[in-house]
Every structure is written in structure tokens, then in C-alpha cells.
């Protein structure tokens, strides 16, 4: 198991050092500093073995977090733990920076004592931790409160405490997708996939039982077959269903139920959390099509013309559109004309950056540029890196739709209808590239 945990600043000075196992000595702290932080070369692996001691590290801005061990630990678990540690710290005091860590070092030690016992990760849900690690002392607690804390920390629903009350029961669902594309110059899709997340903010009283439904093809097909209801409806919804390649869930979701019935049921943590992640590769709506045209005029001139076409409902608006057209290293000057937005040649980035604030669906726009080149005797031809795009659209490119999110709380007197629900879809570009 984890033998020790160290936090360093960018200079390699120790900010936090907590040793859990006898086999980890003080020299381990220095070994990591000398061999990794102060190493001349770039880090070649997140796992380093120095003198039979293994170091796992992650970096957040310029802070290094390192877990140390001499045993054959579960490496995936160690990294998951380090990420979790970062999440917990962020939830307590915001950004992970040297200043924040120094300001909260007592709190960090207290947390480390709680969430890692003898190197074994323990309950690390911030919701639960915040009930008893407060830096205020726990003097005032009654016996009932104390046992409530312990049963929550060790219980089946470690991520939520009892007795939460809201005057207004409300929940927000964000479907956040990033759409990735690699397209050939001729417009052929070489690879495309969507990785999506469903983020939920819940402000619900009590211990509500939730059920989440989306247009998952497997579920819809099953219903279509089994149900004797309106056939036409089944058909039309069958068309809109999407094939999900794989999905993973927050630990509150009952996985065995998903495995057997493919239904997503859970008791949500309070506040914001990520309910699920998913991947799709079939029938993706590509919000933009980029049509490049590059012509080499002699040895010292390039003519570039790029057309972008938006491919979604005219009533919707895409935002924050940015097209990045790479230019050769020996570019000496660029002249650009664009129909919409602003375009600039950025010499330091070797690219023309074309920005458009807003664009409606089913429109097209165009940019043309003349690139002057310095003559070189470099034999190597310009590799023509792909044209990349950034944007944000108000729909889910995978086609995912939230069908329902039902809330049941039998003990308190509010019903599913009383809960105010908000659903929002945001599709962003991931790596969205067209070769030219």
C-alpha cells in the first residue's frame, strides 16, 4: 500500500510530508526531488523506481504530488487516489497552489490522516468529509450527530448525509460533449467520436431515489419489442435513439442494476458531481464541415481558401468559433480576407487564426489568404499540419437526449412534479481537424 505522500512546490521544497509506513524513510523525500523534480530531462514516466522505491506522481499547475511505496501496490488505485486527493483539496480551499497549501497545511494533514489509513484509501467523498473535518472542532456535536457522521462515512451511501433540506427542490442536468473529428481533404471522415459527460447539480431534500433515462438504443429497442403501446411512437423514438459504445458511472449508481436492466438508478450526492461519462462513434452530427483548398504558386507563395459550413438547425447558434490554419515556418507575410469575423496571422504560432463570435445553422463562410514565403534550401517539404477548429453548439452532437429524471422521496412530502428540473446541452469541439 501507499507508504507515504509528499507535496512539493516547483522548486522541490516539501510542503506536506506524511509517512504511513516504516519502510519509507526521510531520504525518500530527497530521492524524488533529486531524481524527478530536479532531473534535467523531461519526465519520461509517471511511475519512477529509485532504489527499489516506487514513486507515483501527478502535477497540478506547479505543485507536485507524489505517492511512495516499496510494495507491489495497485498502481491504478494510487493514481485515482492522487486525483481524488486533488479534488478534495480543491473542494476545501480552491485552487491547488503553493500559497493555498501552506495556508491550509494543518487541514491537509487532518485530511490525509482521515482518507488514508496505513496507506489504504478510506472514504474520500467531500460531502461526507465536510461533516466532520471542519477546522472548527467538533465540540458541539451531540451523540446522535456523531453516530450519524460515522454511519455516513462507513455506510452504503457514503456520498450523502441524512437530513438535507431545501425549500425549493431543484436539479440541473448538463450534457457536456466534446466531438472529435479527423477528416481527409476530400471530406471523408477518417475518425470521429464523441466523449460526453452528464453533470448533475442536485439540490434535493432528504434521501431521494433518482432514475435517469436517455435515448439509449438498447433500452429503446427493448421497450419497442416488449411494449404493446403505440407502434408509431416506438418507431419514431427508435430512430432517434443512439448507440452508446461504453459508459461509466459515479459510484452512487447501482451498477448491477445497470448491467441487468440497463436502468440508471441512484441516490445522488448533494451539489455538483459527474453522474456518467460515455463514448459514441456512430451517427455523429458533425456541426461544422471545413473545406480547405491550398495551392502552391511557385516556390514563394501559397494561396489558401477555407470554407466552413454549419450543419445544424438554422434556429440554433454556434459560438466561440475559431479556425486555425497552419502556415509554413518560412512564412514572411500573410494577407487575409474573410467574409465574417476577424482573422489574424500569428507568427509566433505559425498559424492564421480566424475567429467568429456567432454563426447560425446551415450557413457558410469563407476565408482566403495569400501567404508569402521566404525561399529556403530546405529539401524537406512542408508537412501541412491539419486545420483545426474550436466551437460551442447548444445541442449534443452524439444525438443523446435526456428522456427523464425521476425523483422519488417517500419520507418527505414532495413528489417528482414538485422538483424543478433544468436540462442543458453543450457540444464543444475536442480535436476537430481537417487535413489539407
Amino acid at each position: 500500500m501507499i507508504g507515504g505522500l509528499f507535496i512539493y512546490n516547483h522548486k522541490g521544497e516539501v510542503l506536506i510530508s506524511r509517512v504511513y509506513r516504516d519502510d519509507i524513510g526521510r531520504n525518500a523525500v530527497d530521492a524524488f526531488r533529486v531524481n524527478v523534480i530536479h532531473a534535467r530531462q523531461q519526465v519520461r514516466s509517471p511511475v519512477t523506481n529509485i532504489a527499489r522505491t516506487s514513486f507515483f506522481h501527478v502535477k497540478r499547475s506547479n505543485i507536485w504530488l507524489a505517492a511512495v511505496t516499496k510494495q507491489n501496490v495497485n498502481a491504478a488505485m494510487v493514481f485515482e487516489f492522487l486525483y481524488k486527493m486533488c479534488d478534495v483539496m480543491t473542494a476545501y480551499f480552491g485552487k491547488i497552489s503553493e500559497e493555498n497549501i501552506k495556508n491550509n497545511f494543518v487541514l491537509i494533514y487532518e485530511l490525509l490522516d482521515e482518507i488514508l489509513d496505513f496507506g489504504y484509501p478510506q472514504n474520500s467523498e467531500t460531502g461526507a468529509l465536510k461533516t466532520f473535518i471542519t477546522q472548527q472542532g467538533i465540540k458541539g456535536q451531540t451523540k446522535e450527530e456523531q453516530s450519524q457522521i460515522t454511519s455516513q462515512v462507513t455506510g452504503q451511501i457514503g456520498w450523502r448525509r441524512e437530513g438535507i433540506k431545501y425549500r425549493r427542490n431543484e436539479l440541473f442536468l448538463d450534457v457536456l460533449e466534446s466531438v472529435n473529428l479527423l477528416m481527409s481533404p476530400q471530406g471523408q471522415v477518417l475518425s470521429a467520436h464523441v466523449s460526453g459527460r452528464v453533470v448533475m447539480k442536485s439540490y434535493l431534500s432528504g434521501m431521494p431515489e433518482c432514475k435517469f433515462g436517455m435515448n439509449d438504443k438498447i433500452v429503446i429497442d427493448k421497450q419497442g419489442k416488449g411494449g404493446t403501446t403505440d407502434e408509431a411512437a416506438g418507431k419514431s423514438s427508435g430512430k432517434q435513439s443512439i448507440a452508446i459504445d461504453d459508459c461509466t458511472f459515479h459510484q452512487c449508481v447501482r451498477l448491477s442494476k445497470f448491467d441487468s436492466e440497463r436502468s440508471i438508478s441512484f441516490i445522488p450526492p448533494d451539489g455538483e458531481y459527474e453522474l456518467m461519462r460515455y463514448r459514441t462513434t456512430k451517427d455523429i452530427i458533425l456541426p461544422f464541415r471545413v473545406i480547405p483548398l491550398v495551392r502552391e504558386v511557385g516556390r514563394t507563395k501559397l494561396e489558401v481558401k477555407v470554407v466552413i459550413k454549419s450543419n445544424f438547425k438554422p434556429s440554433l447558434l454556434a459560438q466561440k468559433i475559431e479556425v486555425r490554419i497552419p502556415t509554413p515556418l518560412n512564412t514572411s507575410g500573410v494577407q487575409v480576407i474573410c467574409m465574417k469575423g476577424k482573422a489574424k496571422y500569428k507568427a509566433s504560432e505559425n498559424a492564421i487564426v480566424w475567429k467568429i463570435k456567432r454563426m447560425a445553422g446551415m450557413k457558410e463562410s469563407q476565408i482566403s489568404a495569400e501567404i508569402e514565403l521566404l525561399p529556403t534550401n530546405d529539401k524537406k517539404k512542408w508537412a501541412r499540419p491539419p486545420i483545426s477548429m474550436n466551437f460551442e453548439v447548444p445541442f449534443a452532437p452524439s444525438g443523446l437526449k435526456v428522456r427523464y429524471l425521476k425523483v422519488f422521496e417517500s419520507k418527505l412530502n414532495y413528489s417528482d412534479h414538485d422538483v424543478i428540473k433544468w436540462v442543458r446541452y453543450i457540444g464543444r469541439s475536442g480535436i476537430y481537424e481537417t487535413r489539407c
Partner: protein
């Protein structure tokens, strides 16, 4: 108010001041002081002098202060054991506190104080806490048992804590169960013989129930523990798998990987024909792909594990090549691992895509990555034969870039390509030679020298090139020196006249002026060889080299099995068994995948199934400290065997006895060239007999021909019934029987491949050793679908006769290497010479007469063909079917004289005179040929054709 100020105190006399503050009456001031102490401790200052003052602050109801004092205690108790006793009372008292958080804090801290005197005082409080009514205290106490065990194992056993801990596995609270499992697993690891984690179906059931309810970390502990269990039968393992699969959708990657570990291990026990087995295989791919969208560090861990999984079960991810394509902003460690997996997944189906990607990567910035990409192109060439040509031309393109390290890397891999496809791509040598001067790395220089030496006869200025290296001989690395020595000796053997001086020079450099014993020894051996018997030298130095196999970097199967049992852990990241990097007794246990019940494997190794509980199985894997033992093992146990080292030799013997007849028949074929024998390695006990028994084999085979009933084709080419060429037990379950036929002028090798192993076989390929008539496969071995267990497939391989020629003994012997995804296997078989009789073998009468006279009488051989009940015309017809043409017939005194001619593929003519006497079933056959060696075999063909 912020805490960062505590880090800034650098005053002298600081300790003194702190002491005063610690003893202050004001609580706030005390707390401030303790914080300062902890801050100093963190940055590495020695504040142990304050021990008594800090411990004095322990008696407080301020929990924050208490925690700080405890933190201090844990750090310094060891250095002040006598003073630490002062703390005991507080602990004992705190363990009875009404607040469960305080009780737990006390028991948690107690275990971290490693002072012998104290530990015994802690047993009573711990015992109480293990049975505490509050689950939070119990789960903390469970871990405390592991802490105590680390300090004093005997004490824990004597106090009966282990039994209490075992009881906690049945606790009602899932987190208590999880921590108890974690503690027990750790303790059990240091007691490999104890029956601590007595896993039985009941406890497994409890664990599986807790699995659904506990925290993500608890799920990992439980899954890791489950992985050590060996199910009783395939039904139990299926039901466990069914209950573990939902974990594959967990957001925590470690839960997913641990679940994958359990599934990979247990599915080995499932029958392959089970529907569920296929379902499970399909379920594994998506979560593994999803792991690649995690944070980069986790991606790295996942990729290292996928690398193992792909080697064990390539079918899981074979369609997922694209997800391993490198992204521009992947960290370098992710890029390098992806590249490795891309090569492992490369196949004929996706090779074009892979090559395009690799070419792209070869122009990137990172030197290591570029090198690996170039190397990967070479490995593709070796792995996917159809792509070899494209790979070579890609490599040539890269050499043209003149980027130094790219060129060097390319030359190293081209050498490997030459070793795999000899005599095929020599046209590129000229290009390589152009870059000779730019090579500065030993490996590239050595590779280039090897190429020059190997193809010395085709490089006009080979001597000049090698001479240029010789100038700085002593500055070269050993690798280059050895290679240079061998290359010059090769050159000398090929062009003895011009290079005598050169070879003298290198031999004296190696033997007289070098301190390196390896170099000296090799030099002396060459010298002696050359001076005593140049012919022998030629045979040794220029001997046929075994072809390199495609995947040289595969992890050795036993190690792979062990690593599969360690999926997710450091061992799987390092690709080393835990014993290689963990000190002491911990983790040295070897884990293995349980075999399927009732399978062949389990019959071979009765010691499986106890891996968790009994003594660690004998170490087959070379551990670092065990090199000598390993060397000794080498002769006895082939490294491919998974059974302990003593058994293989015994089994060999047994197999030999059983297979008696079959072995002596076929065993002889294995002999072959010494290099092949060495490559075979698997059957040391058979070898001597096989070599000695070679002459007998011909006869034996002949007998077989006699027996093979008269099916065949009546008028066409006579086909011998299939005989067993490669028995399954010599080829890890692959059985090959076959025969040869000549159809429409094309020689064909008809084979039946049978899979008698438990796993699917794929990627078949075939190659022949050089042989007397230059027979070689005219195309690849077409086994399109994977060969499932117990399936037989018939293939026809067209052969050409344009391959390299080397005289074999016996003349019609053919040594064959067949490769599949498991290994390379060698066998040899003998073909009837009639295979080589060409259709245009009918000679003009005049020419026949002239030739007959021309061939000296010494070359004539006479044979008797007995018991043929055919008249001369029928015989002549029958022979014509096998391309033995009768040119003329003469009848003298009731005796028919048939004059016949045969032409072999290598244009050797064979003339024959067959005398048939009416009423006498015995024919007399005289054969004349310029190459008298063939007569015997031509006679065998007559015999074979006429009697069937």
C-alpha cells in the same frame, strides 16, 4: 488568519521560544506553537527536543490540537521510546471516549507508534475497538491489526487478533468488510503458508455482496482479493464473473482494472465453446478503450496493462487499432506505450493504416519516439509478410531524410528484415552503404557490418568498407568488434584470394591486442578453424541461420501468466514479477492462472489450485538473484514449459515411451541442421536417437508407402496417403499430416492442420529450409480463418522450385518450419521424387541413344521391382501418368524392353531401361543418370507407381 506564516520562522533560538509557548496557559497560544512545530517538522527540521512539551498538550478536548499532537507523536515516538510511554495513558483513555471519532482516532494513531514497549499496552484497547458498536471504529481497528502485525507479527497471532479479523469479513458494514479484507490480504502475503485468507464459496459470496455496497476503494480491495481465489469449477467461475462484470462501468479506473484482472483470470477456466465466454470477451473491450480517455497517468497504467492483455488474448482488442493512434499532445510516456500496442495489433487487415501512421510519427520531434516509430516499421515488416516490401520502401524514404538517428535506427531494423527474408531485399544494400560514414552508434555500426559481411559476395568493395572500420578497432564497442571479426572472416571465406591480409589483421587484433576474453576466444576459434579445416570453417561460419521469429519481444508465457494475475498493480506497470522489485518476503508469491478443470494442463501439473494457500509454486521465472539456478535449469527445462523444472524431462521420457514407433519414424526427421536442432530445443532426449536413426527412416517411410492401399489416381499422378508429419505433442497442440501431389504441372503440398490445443490458433505461416531441389512455397500458407480447438483444416500449398538449393541427406528430405501465434515448429518430411518429374520429359529417340551412351557405365544402377502383375503396356501407361515417358519398346525373346526418360525440374535427365518378362512378376530396372544419387529415389518412384 493563514497558516503559511508558520513556514517562515527562521530565527535562532526558535526551539527555545517554542518550548515556552507550548507550556503557555493559553490554549490558543499552545495550538499556534504546535502548528509551528509541525511546520518545522514538514520542512525537515529536527524538533524532537520538544517531545515532552508537545506530549503534554495531548490531554485536551480540542480535537484539532489532539490530531496535531498525534501527528508529532507518530513522527518522533521511535526516537524517544521512553518518553513515548507517557502517551499510553491518553490512548487507553481515548479508546473509551463516548465519541466514536475520538475512539477511532486513538486506535488509528496507536498503531502508528512503533515502540515495542508500547505495543503490548495497546492490545486490550484494540480488542475492544474491534468489537466496538460503531462501524467507524471497527473499520479503523481492522486496519490497526495490520499495523500491529507489521510491528510484531507474533504478538498479533498470540493475541488471536487474526481470528477476530476473519470474523469481520462477515460484518454487516461493507466498509468494515473491505478494510478487514485489505488487512488480511496484506498479512497473508507475508505468510504464504498460512491459511489466513481461507476463501471458500461462502466467504466469496459475502465479498461479492459487500462489493455492491462499499466505497470505490473498498471495491478495489475486494476485487484484488477475489483475484487470488481459485474457483472450484467452471460454473462457480462463471457465476463470479457475472457478478463482477457490472464493475466494468465504474467511473474509477482502478475498479475497472481490478475487475478486468478477475475476469481475465477466471475466464481461463470457462469452456471456450460456452456462449458466455464469447459474451465476456466482447464485454471487455469497451471499458479498456474507455480507460484511454482517463488522465494521462492512468492512461499509462492502462496501456501497460493492455499490452499484457493483448499478448494473452489478442482477440479482445483486435478491431480497436484506431484508438491507439498517437495524439499530438499525448505525453511522451503515453505515446511510446501506444506505439508498442499498435505493433502488437498490426495485422494484414490494418497494416496500411498502421504504416501511414508510423510514417507520420517518424517525422515528430521527440527522438526516442521517432526511433521507436522507425523500429516499429521494421517490426511490421517482420510480422506481416505481405507488408514487407512497403515497409522496406518506407524505411528507404526515411533514410533519404538523412536525419542521423533515423538513418541509424532504419539500418538496425533492415538488418532484422534481412534475417527474416534472406535474399529478397538485397537491392537496398547500395543505399545503406552510402550512409556508412554517418553511423556513430554501436548498434547501427554493428548492424551495418553484419550486412556487409553477410552479403560480401554482392558488395564489390566489401573489403574496403570493412577495412575502414578496422582502423579504429580498439575504440569500438565490443558489439562492433565482435561483429567486425565475424564479418571479415565471412568475407575471407567468400573471397579468399583478396582478403587474406585483412583477415590476418583482424585475427591478430582480436587475439593479441585485446583484453576482452569473448573477443579473444572468438578470434582463436576462427583462427584455428581457418588453419585446420577451411571447408569446415565455411560450413560453420556460413551456416544457414535460423530465421528470426516475428515477435522477439513477447513476454515469456509463464511471466505473462503471472503478470496477468497482477493486472493493475506495479508489477504490471514494470512488466516484472513483484519479487524483482519488492524487498523481503512480501509479494514473492507467484500467482498463476488456474487451468480449466479437466483440461490437459491440470493433468500435467497437480500443484495448481493451491497458489493462494500452499507453498509458492517452484519458481520457473528467473528472479534476479537466481541466475545460476536458471542457467542450470536451461538444459533440463525448456523455457516455454509452464510446469516446474523437474517434470518436463520426466514427461519427455514418458512421451518417448508412449510414442515409441511414431517417434522413431518421425523423430529422425527432426535432426536436420544443427542450428535447427538448437532452435527446436524442446526435445533434448529425442535428439541423439533421432540423429542416429536417420538412415532407418527412409526404409520406414518406404514401408509406409507399401502399406498405403491402392487408392490413388488411376492414371494421373499417384498421391501417397497423408502421413503424420508433426505430432501434436511436439507442437503445442498443432498436428500436421500431409502429402505431396503434382497437379497440372504444379507441385502441391497438401496438409491437414489440426488444432489439438485449448486455444485458437491464428497467423499461420510456413517456410522451408534450403533443400536439394530448391523447393519453396510459391505463396503464403492460406489459413484464412483462425483454427479453433479440435478443428481440422485442409490446405494446399503450391510450391515452386526456384528456392535456394542445398544438398540434403537423404536427397528428398525437406525441412519445414511452421509458425502460428503460439510458436514456431520444425519438422521434416520426404517427398517422392516423382513430384519433380516434369511434363516435357519425353526425349527424342536419337538424343536418348546418344545420352545413354554418353553417360558412363559406372553411373548405371540396377534394381529389381518385384511382384508387379501388369503387362508392359499397362505399366507404361501407368508410369506416363507420373511423367515417366516410354520412348521406345523392343521385344527380344519374350522380353519387353522399355526405354524411358524422365526430366527433373532442375533439368537433370534420367534414363531408364525396364525389362518385363511375360509371366514373371519381377521387373528389372536399369537407371542411368549424370547425377547417380537420384537413381535410388527414381527407383522408389517406379516401385510406388507400379504397385498402386
Amino acid at each position: 488568519m493563514t497558516d503559511s506564516k508558520y513556514f517562515t520562522t527562521t530565527k535562532k533560538g526558535e526551539i527555545f521560544e517554542l518550548k515556552a509557548e507550548l507550556n503557555s496557559d493559553k490554549k490558543e497560544k499552545k495550538k499556534e506553537a504546535v502548528k509551528k512545530v509541525i511546520a518545522s517538522m514538514t520542512v525537515g527540521k529536527d524538533v524532537s527536543a520538544l517531545f515532552p512539551d508537545v506530549v503534554n498538550c495531548m490531554q485536551t478536548d480540542n480535537l484539532e490540537l489532539k490530531k496535531l499532537v498525534y501527528l508529532y507523536l507518530m513522527n518522533y515516538a521511535k526516537s524517544q521510546p521512553d518518553m513515548a510511554i507517557m502517551a499510553v495513558n491518553t490512548f487507553v483513555k481515548d479508546c473509551e471516549d463516548p465519541n466514536p471519532l475520538i475512539r477511532a482516532l486513538a486506535v488509528r494513531t496507536m498503531g502508528c507508534i512503533r515502540v515495542d514497549k508500547i505495543t503490548e499496552y495497546l492490545c486490550e484497547p484494540l480488542r475492544k475497538c474491534l468489537k466496538d458498536e460503531d462501524p467507524y471504529v471497527r473499520k479503523t481497528a481492522a486496519v490497526c491489526v495490520a499495523k500491529l502485525h507489521d510491528i510484531n507479527a507474533q504478538l498479533v497471532e498470540d493475541q488471536g487478533f487474526l481470528d477476530t479479523l476473519k470474523d469481520l469479513i462477515s460484518d454487516s458494514n461493507p466498509m468494515v468488510v473491505a478494510n478487514a479484507v485489505a488487512a488480511l490480504s496484506e498479512i497473508a502475503e507475508s505468510h504464504p503458508n498460512s491459511n489466513l485468507l481461507d476463501l471458500n464459496p461462502q466467504t466469496i459470496n459475502k465479498l461479492l455482496t459487500a462489493l455492491n455496497e462499499c466505497t470505490e476503494w473498498g471495491q478495489i480491495f475486494i476485487l484484488d482479493c477475489l483475484a487470488n481465489y481459485t474457483p472450484r469449477d467452471d460454473r462457480e467461475s462463471q457465476s463470479i464473473c457475472e457478478r463482477v462484470t457490472p464493475r466494468l462501468s465504474h467511473a474509477n479506473s482502478a475498479v475497472v482494472l481490478s475487475a478486468v484482472k478477475v475476469l481475465m483470470k477466471f475466464m481461463e477456466m470457462l469452456p471456450k465453446d460456452l456462449d458466455y465466454y464469447g459474451t465476456l470477451l466482447k464485454k471487455l473491450a469497451p471499458p479498456l478503450v474507455t480507460l484511454l480517455s482517463a488522465e494521462p497517468e492512468l492512461q499509462y497504467v492502462a496501456l501497460r496493462n493492455i499490452n499484457l492483455i493483448v499478448q494473452k488474448r489478442p482477440e479482445i482488442l483486435k478491431h480497436e487499432m484506431k484508438v491507439f493512434f498517437v495524439k499530438y499532445n499525448d505525453p511522451i510516456y503515453v505515446k511510446l506505450e501506444k506505439l508498442d500496442i499498435m505493433i502488437r495489433l498490426a495485422s494484414q487487415a490494418n497494416i496500411a493504416q498502421v504504416l501511414a501512421e508510423l510514417k507520420e510519427y517518424a517525422t515528430e520531434v521527440d527522438v526516442d519516439f521517432v526511433r521507436k516509430a522507425v523500429r516499429a516499421i521494421g517490426r511490421c515488416a517482420i510480422k506481416v509478410e505481405q507488408s514487407a516490401e512497403r515497409c522496406v520502401s518506407t524505411l528507404l524514404d526515411l533514410i533519404q531524410t538523412k536525419v542521423n538517428y533515423v538513418v541509424q535506427e532504419a539500418i538496425v531494423v533492415i538488418k532484422d528484415i534481412f534475417r527474416k527474408y534472406p535474399n529478397k531485399y538485397e537491392s537496398v544494400i547500395a543505399t545503406l552503404c552510402e550512409n556508412l560514414d554517418s553511423l556513430d552508434e554501436p548498434e547501427a555500426r554493428a548492424a551495418m557490418i553484419w550486412i556487409v559481411g553477410e552479403y560480401a559476395e554482392r558488395i564489390d568493395n566489401a573489403d574496403e568498407l570493412l577495412e575502414s572500420f578496422l582502423e579504429g578497432f580498439h575504440d569500438e564497442s565490443t558489439q562492433v568488434q565482435l561483429q567486425l571479426l565475424t564479418a571479415i572472416v565471412k568475407l575471407f571465406l567468400k573471397k579468399p584470394t583478396e582478403t587474406q591480409e585483412l583477415v590476418q589483421q583482424v585475427l591478430s587484433l582480436a587475439t593479441q591486442d585485446s583484453d576482452n576474453p569473448d573477443l579473444r576466444d572468438r578470434g582463436y576459434i576462427y583462427w584455428r578453424l581457418l588453419s585446420t579445416d577451411p571447408v569446415a570453417a565455411k560450413e560453420v561460419v556460413l551456416a544457414e541461420k535460423p530465421l528470426i521469429s516475428e515477435e522477439t519481444d513477447l513476454i515469456e508465457p509463464t511471466l505473462l501468466e503471472e503478470l496477468i494475475c497482477h493486472i493493475g498493480t506495479l508489477a504490471s506497470v514494470y512488466h516484472k514479477p513483484p519479487s524483482a522489485f519488492v524487498e523481503g518476503s512480501r509479494g514473492v508469491q507467484h500467482r498463476r492462472i488456474p487451468p480449466r478443470a479437466g483440461s490437459v494442463e491440470s493433468a500435467e501439473s497437480p500443484d495448481v489450485g493451491q497458489s493462494g494457500s500452499s507453498e509458492a509454486p517452484p519458481a520457473v521465472i528467473p528472479s534476479q538473484g537466481d541466475l545460476l539456478g536458471d542457467l542450470l535449469n536451461l538444459d533440463l527445462a525448456p523455457p516455454t514449459s509452464t510446469v516446474p523444472s523437474v517434470q518436463p524431462s520426466m514427461q519427455m521420457g514418458a512421451m518417448d515411451l508412449l510414442g515409441g514407433g511414431l517417434d522413431s519414424l518421425l523423430g529422425g526427421d527432426i535432426g536436420g541442421s544443427p542450428s535447427m536442432g538448437a532452435g527446436l530445443g524442446a526435445a533434448p532426449t529425442v535428439m541423439p536417437a533421432a540423429l542416429g536413426g536417420a538412415p532407418a527412416v527412409g526404409g520406414g517411410l518406404g514401408d509406409l508407402f507399401d502399406l498405403g492401399g491402392g487408392v490413388g489416381m488411376p492414371t494421373g499422378f499417384y498421391v501417397v496417403p497423408k502421413t503424420m508429419w508433426l505430432p501434436a505433442m511436439k507442437a503445442k497442440g498443432l498436428e500436421i499430416s500431409g502429402t505431396f501431389a503434382r497437379r497440372g504441372g504444379i507441385i502441391q503440398m497438401d496438409m491437414s492442420l489440426t488444432n489439438k490445443a485449448m486455444s485458437v490458433m491464428t497467423d499461420f505461416a510456413i517456410q522451408f529450409n534450403r533443400n536439394s531441389f530448391g523447393m519453396a512455397p510459391a505463396g503464403p500458407l492460406q489459413v484464412l480463418t483462425p483454427l479453433s480447438p479440435n478443428q481440422t483444416i485442409d490446405v494446399s500449398l503450391p510450391l515452386s522450385t526456384n528456392g535456394p538449393v542445398m544438398k540434403m541427406e537423404p536427397l528428398n528430405n525437406l525441412q519445414v518450419a511452421v509458425k502460428n501465434n503460439i510458436d514456431v515448429f520444425y519438422f521434416s518430411c520426404q517427398f517422392p521424387l516423382s513430384l519433380l518429374f516434369v511434363e516435357d520429359g519425353k526425349m527424342e529417340r536419337q538424343v536418348f541413344l546418344a545420352t545413354w551412351k554418353d553417360i558412363p557405365n559406372d553411373n548405371e544402377a540396377q534394381f529389381q521391382i518385384k511382384d508387379v502383375h501388369l503387362n508392359s503396356d499397362a505399366a507404361s501407361n501407368k508410369l506416363q501418368g507420373s511423367n515417366i515417358f516410354t520412348i521406345a519398346k523392343r521385344t527380344v525373346e519374350g522380353q519387353d524392353m522399355l526405354y524411358q526418360s524422365i526430366k527433373l525440374t532442375n533439368s537433370i535427365w534420367v534414363l531408364a531401361e525396364m525389362r518385363v518378362q511375360t509371366g514373371n512378376p519381377n521387373y528389372t530396372l536399369s537407371i542411368k543418370c549424370r547425377a547417380p544419387e537420384v537413381c535410388q529415389f527414381v527407383y522408389q518412384c517406379y516401385e510406388m507407381v507400379l504397385k498402386n
